[in-house]
């Protein structure tokens, strides 16, 4: 191919491009006095507003600091000492390596994907200097504003008197000196960047990858420097005794793996940059992302101890039947020029699938759930088969995709129906904490998104039956509070299932989460679908695309672009809604903060310390949501929503 195809414009400005003439000159910054006057005190009304808002902010900020760091009332050790509980709940300590391996897999995939998105953009040095300055200012303000500890009398009763208040309000330099140093260091870095690079600060872009990686690195390195405290269990005299060393570094078994994670991410990124021009690399990375959830599930829960007699007598034969029989049907259906008969057969398969579900629901035939799911999948493959018509190898590839799909699905269904055998624990109640939150959100989003897209298409389909089914489902789900859905799936679902089939509680509520989130996703995507102009459909028809191709290549990509903002909103909601799992008794992140820690009395007494945990949980939720929101803004900009 000619070089014309390789000249993709890069947006990262390299150092050679400094002083690009077409950039507008930097706005001359006003002297501070004039800036204040122009922006804050331009009229009497504005002056009053500025003073009012300023006072309000001051009051709120100080109140928040007091609330969070009032030493007599708060005990942040309750969070630090329970970090393990927060992150992984009751996951057996001696098998932590599995969690680390899972994390390493995700981070490596992240590194590959970052290497593949070449034009992720950059952040100017000017911006970075401003970040350092703002952070420094916040630290300084917080240090100056935070109040001292409340005094208690000999009986432990809080003392309220003017003298005490004066002491509390005074800045205690000795206590806070470290924070003044931190603020000064931040200011110094900001100044060094700002003045060291002079006018060039506006043109030097640090690629976003590097900034993120540096932030990750700084956090990891801080584990080796800052004394976050060491809490855990240590073996002594054949028994596990609690370790509590608030004034030391975190445990080596935490520090070292995080350092490894940081290195792994960097190596993955580097390998990715070496391989990114190879054609197969992108496909392989995408496939790995899709395979990651089942694989991680396997790593975290370990291979369940399958009932091998059942596997050989039922599971393997069923897989073989669908792989061979379904493969043969699909091979035939993807024959070029098959025409109408192919569509009729595909439609027939759809009806068989539907009836098999109906029969299961009515209890006529206690067919295995796996067979029903496989029928639905087969019908879906059959319906799109004519798009993969072509020569022999293309058709065989299509059949290969089918076999791979049912292999994964069959594995999943079998695995979900078999209890985990993580050493020593015979149920899934050891899962919890942030690990579970992440897991649930990941599964919820990855599965509900395609489901939502299918529902949206069904709701806009011209076949009334699809429309009615999708509309009913969406409206029913949207009319029910999420918590009801959760109760239904955790308590009632097992009662509805045909005999012989069981769904673990976590699997049940995950299904509930997926269905709930899918209904909302569907509405968001439908909004996008409706924004596509008729001309796009006509142009797709006119060049001869089939309706499926038209949907997949023209309509959906555009609809999804339009729906990015509401879809990300939904993703953030789903992420946060996992906290409702606390109510139905799953030990998620929030429940640990709200119920577990406030009732802990050994080895340290944390009874009543609920607020620290809740603040910590809020912070983590905020960070996740904010990252998603930022990413969506970037995505919107990249895809040029509204401009192209």
């Amino acid at each position: 191919m000619t070089n014309a195809f390789e000249t993709i414009p890069m947006r990262v400005v390299a150092e050679e491009d400094l002083g690009k003439p077409d950039l507008p000159p930097e706005e001359p910054s006003l002297p501070p006095g004039e800036w204040l006057k122009k922006n804050l005190f331009s009229s009497v009304g504005n002056t009053i507003l500025t003073i009012l808002v300023g006072a309000l902010l001051f009051w709120a900020f100080r109140g928040l600091l007091d609330f969070a760091f009032n030493n007599a009332e708060r005990d942040w050790t309750s969070v630090a000492a329970n970090m393990r509980l927060f992150l992984t709940f009751a996951y057996p300590v001696d098998q932590y390596v599995r969690v680390w391996v899972s994390l390493a897999i995700l981070l490596s995939l992240g590194g590959f994907s970052f290497a593949l998105t070449r034009n992720i953009g950059g952040i100017t040095l000017r911006r970075i200097a401003t970040w350092f300055f703002t952070t420094g200012a916040l630290v300084l303000a917080a240090t100056l504003l935070v109040k001292g500890p409340l005094e208690r009398d000999a009986d432990g009763v809080l003392i309220f008197n003017e003298e005490n208040e004066a002491i509390r309000n005074a800045v205690v330099w000795a206590d806070r000196s470290i924070w003044f140093i931190v603020a000064a260091a931040l200011f110094a870095i900001a100044a060094a960047i700002w003045f060291g690079f002079g006018d060039r600060r506006r043109f030097i872009f640090i690629p976003t990858h590097y900034v993120l990686y540096a932030m990750f690195g700084a956090a990891v390195l801080s584990l080796f420097v800052v004394k976050y405290g060491h809490y855990g269990l240590r073996e002594a005299d054949g028994a596990l005794v609690p370790v509590m060393e608030p004034d030391s570094l975190v445990a080596r078994s935490t520090r070292i793996p995080w350092l490894v994670m940081w290195v792994v991410t960097g190596v993955a990124y580097f390998v990715g940059t070496l391989l990114r021009s190879r054609g197969w690399f992108k496909g392989l990375t995408g496939l790995s992302w899709l395979l990651a959830p089942p694989f991680i599930m396997w790593v975290i829960l370990r291979d369940p101890s399958f009932d091998w007699a059942h596997v050989w007598s039922t599971d393997i034969p069923m897989f073989a039947a669908f792989a061979i029989g379904g493969g043969a049907i699909l091979f035939w259906l993807s024959k070029p020029d098959l025409g109408e008969i192919g569509r009729i057969i595909a439609f027939g398969l759809g009806i068989v699938a539907f009836l098999s579900f109906l029969s299961g629901a009515l209890g006529w035939m206690s067919m295995l759930q796996k067979a029903r799911i496989s029928f639905v999948l087969l019908a879906m493959f059959a319906l799109v088969a004519h798009n993969f018509a072509g020569d022999r190898s293309a058709r065989l590839r299509f059949v290969g995709a089918w076999i791979a799909t049912i292999a994964i699905v069959h594995y999943f269904v079998t695995a979900i129906n078999t209890p985990s055998t993580l050493q020593g624990i015979q149920s899934d109640t050891f899962l919890g904490g942030f690990l579970f939150t992440l897991f649930a959100a990941f599964v919820g989003l990855v599965v509900s998104f395609p489901l939502g897209a299918i529902l949206a298409l069904a709701r806009t389909s011209k076949f009334p039956i699809f429309r009615i089914l999708a509309t009913t489902f969406i409206e029913v789900v949207r009319g029910i509070p999420f918590i009801t859905v959760l109760f239904f799936f955790s308590i009632m679902l097992p009662l509805f299932l045909p005999e012989g089939m069981e769904v673990g509680e976590i699997a049940g509520v995950l299904i509930g989460l997926v269905l709930f989130s899918a209904a909302y996703m569907a509405e968001n995507i439908r909004g996008g679908l409706q924004s596509i102009r008729r001309g796009q459909f006509e142009a797709a028809d006119a060049i001869g695309l089939t309706p499926t191709q038209r949907t997949g290549l023209i309509v959906m990509p555009q609809a999804l672009r339009v729906s990015i903002p509401p879809l990300v909103g939904q993703a953030i909601s789903t992420y946060k809604e996992t906290s409702l799992f606390a109510i139905i008794g799953i030990f998620d992140f929030l429940r640990i903060a709200n119920n577990v820690i406030p009732n802990q009395s050994t080895p340290i007494n944390f009874v009543g310390h609920k607020r620290e945990g809740l603040l910590f949980v809020s912070l983590i939720y905020f960070i996740g949501s904010y990252a998603m929101s930022k990413y969506s803004q970037k995505l919107e900009k990249d895809l040029g929503v509204g401009t192209r």
Binding site: M1, T2, A4, F5, T7, I8, G339, E340, R343, N387, A389, G390, A394, G535, Q536, E538, A539, A540, D541, A542, I543, G544, L545, T546, Q549, L553, I554, P557, Q558, R561, L639, G640, T643, R644
Partner: protein, 259 residues
């Protein structure tokens, strides 16, 4: 040679060619409103037909019936020997042989120019990517815009977009091209670049039906002109006949209004 002799000569030459599109008594209703009333016309191979007529006369409706963007309710439409019925296979076959260019371009805004052009060859004709891209570059060069290949439609001028749209239709190697007012949405200075491309296409022997208000184009390029009004074909003839010696009063009235 008088005009009527010339007309006869052209008609005789045309009559010797194969039929490309045959419409017999085509009816089309929108609810109670009849947009096409028994439209009967035959378009020969390599013929360029310009369709004229006042707004709302059914020009667009007619040519959109030819590639089944609209469904006719009466009569027959036969394209290259295949009759348009509800049979999906026929519709797919005809759509891949009939290219269409729209007034509003209707390029796919999320795809680059080269992807717009290669999409159908890759997915409908199952052409390998490299081959499709080579061919697309050839077409874009022919349209005079090879350097725009990696841009998105939104970054191009109207005239460039319309030429991409023509390249996109040509990439399927159609036997017939339909143009529905291809220059009506363009600024005057861009009309010529699109008309020039269309003239080249006509000279290369493409069968074309062009709905347009560009009288110069009609006069210069058309083999025949079809004049429609109120869903009917009122008059058919060579450009000479049509512009100098129309027989129907309604044609005369139309010409007096626009010329």
């Amino acid at each position: 040679m008088s005009i009527s002799d010339a007309t006869t000569a052209v008609n005789e030459e045309l009559a010797s060619r194969d039929d490309m599109i045959e419409c017999v008594g085509v009816d089309k209703w929108y609810g109670d409103f009849q947009a096409l009333k028994g439209v009967t016309a035959t378009i020969k191979e390599r013929e360029v037909v310009v369709v004229l007529g006042p707004s709302g006369s059914g020009k667009s409706t007619w040519i959109r019936c030819i590639n089944r963007l609209e469904q006719h309710q009466g009569g027959q439409i036969i394209v290259d020997g295949v009759e348009l019925t509800n049979d999906v296979r026929n519709i797919e076959k005809i759509r891949s042989e009939v290219g269409m260019v729209f007034q509003q371009f209707n390029l796919f805004p999320h795809l680059t120019v080269i992807d717009n052009v290669t999409l159908a060859p890759k997915w409908v004709r199952k052409m390998p990517k490299d081959e499709a891209e080579d061919k697309a570059m050839e077409l874009l060069t022919q349209m005079g815009i090879p350097e725009q290949a990696q841009k998105f439609p939104g970054q191009l001028s109207g005239g460039q977009q319309q030429r991409v749209a023509i390249a996109r239709a040509l990439a399927m190697e159609p036997r017939v091209m339909l143009f529905d007012e291809p220059t009506s949405a363009l600024d005057p200075e861009m009309i010529k670049e699109v008309l020039d491309v269309m003239k080249d296409l006509a000279n290369s022997g493409m069968t074309m039906i062009v709905v347009t208000h560009e009288m110069g184009f009609a006069r210069e390029v058309a083999d025949r002109i079809i004049f429609m009004e109120s869903g009917e074909i009122v008059e058919v003839g060579t450009p000479e006949h049509f512009f100098t010696n129309p027989t129907e009063d309604r044609t005369k009235l139309f010409l007096s209004q626009i010329l």
